[in-house]
């Protein structure tokens, strides 16, 4: 039986390969994700470890609260006097102090240099203790006074050499500094495209606004002393708000932000690999069903020869097993290629990822193989079971077809139950209280999965009406698309063929009535087959529609929120629209003539009621430019927060029983505890609030924060928004090349652009699933052409031309795609409406333009899917086709 299964696979190489494509792509995405993230992780680990190769321990500042790991709240620097104390310890061999921060380098065009959105890192370097420097000198000399060393990549790409002058901007306005040499980060030229700048300690302290302070002391143990003894000695003299770690611990700590991002990226990409595999499983199940229907005769003959049902089941499942295994191995290697490609791609856009070679872990291989094989085998179970139902008598009957299964009667009911169960899970996930995020995601995921399977099984019933409706739509959308590419592609192609002496008809645009009519009828012929083929596309489109609808639903309330809160003419933001800016930027703007009012919102973290929360701070000008929806308190209180006033949002007030006049303690990142009094409670707008749970005065915030930064700065000018005013503001910002002035409308757009680019990433990832479903359609069509060979021969004999055959198959393909699109879009809208009903941040908005685009894309998918099968069909020799068994 094993031999038989393998021979069967070989005999149907093409069909098997087509079937397996869905698995190959899904597994490729999974293995590619693992390889990519593993490689980046290992490269970062080695960078961070390398950094401390001459170090035994590191002293750093310590936040008083457990701040989030993304670096929004850097640890406060500590007093530089500690360095001398540490050096004085007999257990310490050498110790070096350093500060670091963000330092923009300014290109010759006056703009700050950024490669692919990577950060701009600045360090102090100590020429006397090079073993502790993160930077390695490549050429030139270490900097002194107003000198700087920059990384080789920036120097090369922006045309700077040693001896040139370059603009540098950190906490204050830009300064011109002389380049004393070029550096690299450890042994790599760059990490993720970040620019590097190194200064001597005094200059760095001044630039980063850390005069008399240090961020880090690196220590090497005196020879003859154990590391343990040294650590103990250091701990004894350690002042408050500092900590000491071993080099290993410190490297891990440094990598923590990166690794949490990487593990998020990994999960995120794996989800999309999973979706592609799920779609792929539909393609496999469908292809196997078709092949098994076509092999009815073969199975029946085996049964008459004495094969048991169990043996038949075994044969089919074994075939699936082998297919799944081969496809998974192919996917595994395709994943390697994808990872390599992504590294190249990121490099090309300037976001050079650290890469010490691809890391191919055993886990990657195991997961990819198991998942790929499992999905294939699971998808084969139903078709395999059907194969065992073939009665031996089918061997002797001409044109015997697979009888519908016993359970077929219950299929619509079962399908409906699955779909309803799926919706129920989604509803429970969305509306039940007190679920953990994990439970919620599992419920949503499982619910949507069941819903898709249920709808896919049920949709056979919808095929006939939907196909009838789609028929004219398919016909005319193909006409329109053909007309669009006619002058650019079809006519030139025809001319070229003509030149090469091929006698082909001049390309027409109008639909070929008869061919298209037969194609339309073909799509209604086997509703189950059309439905399962369309189901693969349905899943992709449902998810794309969901994303688009949620995106549209996010953007509208967001814009309303911006409109509701900010009444300023201008906003000052970083060039990348989201990085916070140092306060001197706002101070510079305040000096500009014509500026009426300036207000800034600072952001940070603090701890209250035992939990770390986000906080914001506003200045006395705030009431003029910010408008709150007050539950209690008033606009005026916004400007009169003083030393202990606080404003809290309504939800936070409710959960901690805060009302006007309540007092509560809040611990800031530097360790001070503020006794705050509630001066107002506001209702955040539905579209999301830019304010933290607690808002205090800027004065209080600055007094308790080491390096305050502005999230937003808003400006009103006399005369409002005018071209002259915009120019004046931007002129004033020339010393802060990383900042720019945006009009209110530009600001809204810039903020929503972020959402839009996230949507675009999601579209690209979902496109993979759509691609898999395209292969699904190709697959079905090719199998169908096999099956209808004799019929095609007859049609050609009685006068269907090759061109007509192609159009006939294209029509069937486009109708199938449209059915998938219609069901998918409706399903996506239903899911989106459920989510919108649950989440305040989202209003249910139908993104009509996008939906039209998706429908057009589906038609294009249909057209492309038909190309190859149609060619095969058109190439058939009518005579051979007529004699095909």
């Amino acid at each position: 039986m094993i031999k038989f299964a393998l021979q069967g696979l070989l005999a149907r190489k093409l069909r098997t390969a087509l079937t397996a494509i869905g698995v190959v792509l899904g597994v490729a995405l999974i293995s590619g994700t693992y390889v990519l993230t593993d490689s980046i992780t290992s490269a970062f680990d080695s960078i961070f470890t390398q950094n401390y190769k001459n170090t035994d321990a590191a002293i750093t500042g310590k936040n008083a609260i457990d701040a989030s790991e993304d670096g929004t709240v850097p640890a406060p620097p500590f007093d530089a006097g500690l360095l001398a104390t540490v050096r004085g310890l007999p257990e310490v061999g050498a110790a070096g102090g350093a500060v670091s921060g963000e330092a923009q380098l300014i290109g010759k065009d006056g703009k700050s240099i950024v490669f692919g959105g990577a950060p701009n890192l600045g360090f102090s370097v100590d020429p006397a203790l090079p073993q502790f420097n993160s930077l390695t000198l490549v050429s030139g000399a270490w900097p002194t006074g107003d000198q700087v060393v920059i990384d080789t990549k920036t120097a090369k790409e922006k045309g700077f050499t040693t001896g040139d002058t370059i603009g540098v901007q950190a906490r204050g306005a830009a300064e011109q500094m002389k380049i004393s040499g070029l550096v690299e980060f450890g042994a790599v030229s760059s990490i993720g495209g970040a620019t590097l700048a190194g200064f001597d300690l005094g200059t760095a302290q001044q630039l980063f606004d850390k005069t008399g302070k240090l961020d880090q002391i690196l220590i090497a143990t005196k020879s003859g002393t154990s590391e343990q003894q040294m650590l103990e000695a250091v701990r004894r003299i350690l002042p408050a708000a500092t900590q000491v770690r071993t080099a290993d611990e410190q490297a891990k700590e440094d990598a923590a932000g990166t690794s949490s991002f990487l593990s998020f990226l990994q999960t995120f990409l794996l989800v999309f690999g999973g979706i592609a595999l799920f779609v792929g499983s539909f393609v496999i199940a469908n292809s196997l069903s078709i092949t098994i229907a076509q092999r009815t005769r073969e199975f029946a003959t085996l049964r008459t020869l004495g094969a048991s049902r169990r043996q038949l089941l075994g044969t089919v499942v074994l075939e699936a097993l082998v297919t799944g295994f081969v496809a998974s191995v192919a996917g595994l290697f395709l994943g390697l290629a994808i990872a390599t490609g992504l590294f190249k791609l990121f490099d090309a856009v300037g976001f050079t990822l650290p890469n010490n070679g691809l890391v191919f872990q055993t886990r990657t291989i195991v997961v990819a193989l198991i998942v790929g094989v499992l999905v294939t085998v699971l998808a084969s179970l139903r078709p395999a079971w059907r194969a065992t139902r073939v009665p031996p008598i089918a061997a002797v009957r001409e044109g015997a077809t697979l009888a519908p299964g016993r359970l077929n009667r219950y299929r619509p009911v079962g399908a409906a139950l699955l779909a309803v169960g799926g919706i129920a899970l989604v509803l429970v996930g969305l509306f039940a209280d007190g679920l953990s995020t994990k439970t919620l995601l599992v419920l949503l995921g499982a619910g949507v999965l069941l819903l898709f399977i249920g709808i896919a099984l049920f949709s056979a019933r919808l095929v006939r009406p939907l196909a009838t409706v789609s028929d004219p739509i398919a016909r005319w959308s193909v006409v329109v698309l053909t007309a669009l590419i006619w002058p650019f592609f079809l006519v030139p192609l025809w001319l070229v063929r003509r030149l090469f002496g091929r006698r082909t008809e001049f390309p027409g645009v109008l639909p070929d009535g008869p061919a298209v009519a037969i194609g339309g009828q073909n799509s209604r012929r086997d509703p189950h087959r059309t439905a399962s083929t369309a189901a693969a596309l349905m899943i992709g489109l449902a998810l794309v529609t969901l994303v688009a609808t949620l995106g549209a639903g996010l953007i509208r309330p967001f814009e309303q929120a911006v409109d509701g809160i900010f009444s300023a003419d201008y906003a000052i933001t970083a060039q990348n629209n989201f990085s916070p800016l140092p306060p001197p930027v706002a101070a510079e703007i305040a000096k500009v003539p014509g500026v009426d009012k300036v207000t800034s919102v600072r952001g940070g973290e603090a701890k209250a009621f035992g939990k770390t929360i986000t906080i914001t701070a506003v200045d006395p000008q705030a009431p003029e430019l910010l408008t709150f929806d007050w539950r209690s308190g008033s606009q005026a209180s916004l400007g009169e927060l003083g030393a202990d006033g606080a404003i809290v949002d309504a939800a936070y007030a409710d959960s901690h029983a805060l009302v006007l006049g309540s007092r509560f303690p809040m611990q800031t990142a530097t360790g001070k505890t503020l006794q705050l009094e509630v001066k107002g409670v506001f209702r955040p707008p539905a579209g999301g609030s830019p304010f933290g749970n607690v808002t205090i005065s800027t004065a209080t915030f600055d007094a308790t924060t080491s390096q305050p930064l502005n999230l937003y700065t808003f400006v009103n000018m006399s005369g409002g928004v005018t071209a002259a005013n915009t120019a004046t503001l931007n002129d004033a910002l020339s010393t802060f090349p990383n900042a720019k002035a945006l009009t209110r409308d530009e600001f809204k757009k810039a903020q929503t652009d972020g959402i839009k680019s996230i949507l675009n990433v999601l579209y690209v990832l979902l496109a993979l699933s759509v691609l898999v479903s395209l292969f699904g359609i190709v697959n079905t069509l090719v199998l169908t052409v096999f099956e209808r060979t004799r019929e095609l021969g007859m049609l050609r004999a009685i006068g269907l031309t090759r061109g007509q055959v192609k159009k006939m198959i294209r029509q069937e393909s486009v109708i199938t795609a449209l059915i998938g699109a219609v069901i998918g879009i409706v399903l996506g809208l239903v899911l989106a409406s459920l989510l919108a009903a649950r989440l305040d941040e989202i209003s249910f908005t139908i993104p009509v333009a996008q939906l039209v685009i998706f429908a057009v894309v589906s038609v294009v998918v249909g057209i492309f899917a038909a190309i190859w099968p149609a060619r095969r069909a058109a190439k058939l020799d009518p005579l051979e086709a007529l004699q095909y068994e």
Partner: protein, 249 residues
């Protein structure tokens, strides 16, 4: 000029047809120089043992296959040099087919199956002719049924109506009764005969059945790729005798 010569136009005029399958040692000479002329309004039967080249000949005459050498003219048009599209369109206009396996489209009703050649050509059916035709083949009450709901004989009637509906120059039938029982075969044959009589439908029919050949105006005997004998209208007994003497069984 000597009087009025009514020139008989052959609807099919084939000369020196040679068809070789394969090459070298394994080459099969299915036709070895066959010439055929088919005159309008005649029913011609082609007989011969299995493998004698009957189907090959028919396929070449019908423009489904190309001869290795030789020429075929349909209604005066040389078809062996036509491109695929032109040939397809010629088949639409001039040729009808009746297959041994009925080859109906399962998703179409009997009516739509019959009208298929007209649909493909994009021409309007002549309603009157359609009605008489359907009446003649006895399918008037079966038009809305799909092939799966029809018996073999009924399916072949649909196929015959489909071949006749476009009034082609010539209808080719390859063992049209090969798949039917003898009573149904008789009905189908008389149907074909009557289409010749009533509509003057030129028909070429490949058959193994002497009874069928007895209905033809002319019988061609093929053996080993060559036409070995040709007779006019003959009865079943005469045909069987010829087959015997030529050792064609």
């Amino acid at each position: 000029m000597e009087g009025t010569v009514t020139q008989v136009v052959e609807v099919v005029d084939a000369k020196d047809l040679v068809r070789v399958y394969g090459e070298g040692d394994t080459a099969v000479h299915a036709l070895r120089g066959v010439g055929v002329r088919i005159e309008p309004g005649q029913l011609t039967a082609v007989m011969g043992p299995s493998g004698s080249g009957k189907s090959t000949l028919m396929h070449i005459l019908a423009g489904l296959d190309r001869p290795t050498s030789g020429s075929v003219k349909i209604d005066g048009i040389e078809i062996t040099t036509l491109g695929d599209d032109a040939l397809t369109k010629l088949r639409r206009r001039h040729i009808g087919f009746i297959f041994q396996f009925f080859n109906l489209l399962p998703m179409l009703t009997a009516r739509d199956n019959i009208l298929l050649p007209l649909t493909i050509a994009g021409t309007k059916p002549d309603q009157e002719f359609f009605d008489t035709l359907v009446d003649r083949v006895g399918l008037a009450d079966r038009l809305e049924h799909r092939p799966a709901e029809l018996s073999g004989g009924q399916q072949q009637r649909v196929a015959i109506a489909r071949a006749l509906v476009s009034r082609p120059t010539v209808v080719f039938a390859d063992e049209p009764t090969g798949n039917l029982d003898s009573r149904t075969s008789g009905e189908i044959l008389s149907l074909m005969r009557s289409s010749v009589e009533e509509y003057g439908q030129t028909t070429v029919m490949v058959t193994h059945d002497a009874k069928a050949a007895a209905m033809a105006d002319r019988v061609l005997y093929l053996a080993d790729g060559e036409i070995v004998k040709e007779t006019g209208r003959s009865n079943q007994h005469e045909i069987l005798q010829i087959i015997d003497t030529l050792d064609l069984q």
